[in-house]
């Protein structure tokens, strides 16, 4: 192979002479002259390359991550259903009282006191008193615990067997779901968005003003509201208000500076470059979770900077291009997440 020697074949280009910008002709000449000495002319020091061979570490890391994720999901499923065959056999009952402690009332068409084994119907509204607690069996896919002070409504399924086949609306207080099912089967609606289960365990809390927080303890949840579809894995959280788009998910241990800049970027449609700079300055490789979720930011310059930062952490798959991200293509974002970032999160 004939290989040219570097830096010996480039003539100096002066596009400001051949293709000047209107209104800057004289200024362009001065600028070009002033910067002429700054042009690159160095050579690569071959010693610095060392003997490190180009590797395919990424491939094996991805494979390892996928195996770990599969093992975690299986472990979660086994923990949930080990020795619980009687619950599994009553799959036809969608929401059944598994345990009740203290005062729990049911409002609605079938208003009554709750007992263990009672079946709940769509439209039933559960009110858990302070100091009380209620655990429901959710079909054959898991459990839902309502903490003291919670108010929750049972909703009709969207589809008997697929997406949204188990739906509840948390109106107030906290509920902890522990579910092992196909993605999107179980959903917790709140005044500020819907938490769509992607497998395992998470806590949703709703304040009186509808302000909602979601904290994922294992597995992952998709939180969806006002056009945002956010991926929240274990160890991450987000918050959401009824009158604003949800915040971008972040790790529980994210730095204060990172969170401050993220909060401002979330609140602004235009995206202040200083906030973006601070966010990226504070971001660690693991914060690719937040950067990936923020790829839906309305400001294209923000999306572009995030794409570049993420590409440095993990190269996007073939076909996931800057143009696709700038165009807001959700499928491209999700491919990048599923094929590349999943092992990291």
């Amino acid at each position: 192979m004939s290989i040219e020697r570097p830096n010996e074949r480039r003539a100096r280009g002066e596009p400001w002479r051949t293709d000047p910008l209107p209104g800057f002709e004289g200024y362009e000449l001065r600028l070009g002259e002033a910067l002429s000495g700054a042009r690159w002319s160095g050579a690569l020091d071959p010693q610095r390359l060392g003997a490190v061979p180009p590797s395919r570490a990424h491939f094996w890391r991805a494979i390892g991550g996928a195996l770990l994720a599969a093992a975690a999901w299986l472990a979660c499923w086994l923990l949930l259903f080990r020795g619980d065959a009687e619950t599994a056999s009553s799959a036809s009952a969608r929401f059944v009282v598994r345990s009740v402690r203290g005062s729990v009332r049911v409002e609605g068409a079938s208003a009554r006191a709750l007992e263990v084994g009672a079946t709940l119907a769509p439209g039933d509204r559960l009110l858990v008193a302070e100091g009380a607690n209620l655990v429901l069996t959710v079909g054959d896919i898991g459990f839902l615990e309502l903490l003291p002070g919670a108010a929750l409504r049972i909703d009709a399924p969207l589809d008997a067997r697929a997406e949204g086949s188990y739906r509840v609306a948390l109106e107030l207080g906290a509920a902890e779901a522990n579910v092992a099912a196909a993605p999107r089967v179980f959903q917790v609606g709140t005044p500020a968005g819907i938490a769509v289960d992607l497998g395992c365990k998470y806590r949703t809390t709703v304040r009186e003003d509808g302000f909602t927080t979601l904290e994922v303890l294992s597995g992952a949840v998709s939180f969806e509201a006002r056009g945002r579809k956010l991926h929240v894995p274990a160890g991450a959280r987000l918050s959401s208000s009824p009158d604003a788009p949800p915040s971008t998910p972040h790790w529980n241990d994210a730095s204060t500076l990172f969170l401050d800049s993220l909060r401002r970027l979330d609140a602004s449609a235009s995206g202040d470059p200083r906030d973006l700079e601070q966010l990226l300055a504070e971001a660690t490789q693991r914060d690719s979770l937040t950067l990936w979720n923020l790829l839906d930011h309305p400001d294209a310059s923000v999306r572009r900077a995030l794409f570049e930062a993420l590409a440095e952490i993990e190269e996007p798959p073939s076909g996931v291009t800057l143009e696709a991200i700038l165009a807001g293509e959700l499928a491209a974002r999700e491919r990048w997440r599923d094929e590349v970032f999943r092992p990291l999160w």
Partner: protein, 200 residues
């Protein structure tokens, strides 16, 4: 011009350009097999791009380090690059992040050494003033780094490395029209800070 052809739009290479040497894909394939000469050739083609991007973030000395570090990192991670056609975008992404990190390091170091620099500043200033052109260049590059990112990148690519709007568009994945808009806006801001008249 080699840089032009390598950084031009896909599928626009002329016959004479093709005759200048192996393609990026061929060099990449050889480099992946451990051929350091092939990688050095890739370096020769793309180092000016990396340098211009780095100048948008850090001073000249740090930018030279960034160029070396970017290519060392790229060499080590060549196996992770999927698609030879993405080499330029890939190396640019590494460059931006490496330069950003270098700038953060400089800022931290700058805070720590601020007092020392203040003491030495007078002597250094007198020495630098002996080379008026160099001083002007350093001032100008400092003003360039103070511009918004989108502007300083396009300006460095045009006036330091001499790329046309079309070539910058191919590098930054913007349209040529957007590049011209960024250039005009960036020049307008830069002209408020550095006229160039005082040093003529």
């Amino acid at each position: 011009m080699r840089f032009r052809s390598e950084h031009g739009l896909p599928g626009t290479k002329s016959a004479s350009e093709e005759a200048e040497g192996p393609s990026d894909a061929a060099l990449l394939e050889a480099a992946r097999r451990g051929d350091a000469r092939a990688f050095t050739a890739l370096y020769g083609r793309h180092a000016p791009l990396v340098h211009a991007l780095a100048l948008g973030w850090v001073d000249r000395h740090a930018a030279e380090d960034v160029v070396q570090e970017v290519f060392v990192q790229a060499w080590r991670k060549l196996g992770e690059l999927r698609g030879a056609e993405r080499f330029r975008a890939w190396i640019a992404a590494i460059a931006r992040n490496r330069a950003r990190s270098a700038r953060r390091s400089d800022e931290r170091r700058g805070r720590r050494l601020a007092q020392e620099i203040a003491v030495d500043g007078l002597a250094a200033g007198r020495e630098a003033a002996c080379d008026a052109a160099r001083l002007e260049q350093e001032e100008l590059l400092a003003e360039l780094r103070a511009l918004p990112e989108a502007y300083r990148e396009t300006i460095a690519l045009r006036y330091v490395e001499g790329l046309s709007a079309e070539e910058i568009a191919a590098v930054t994945e913007l349209t040529p029209g957007s590049v011209r808009v960024n250039l005009c806006r960036g020049l307008k801001l830069l002209r408020e800070r550095w006229s160039g008249e005082a040093h003529r």
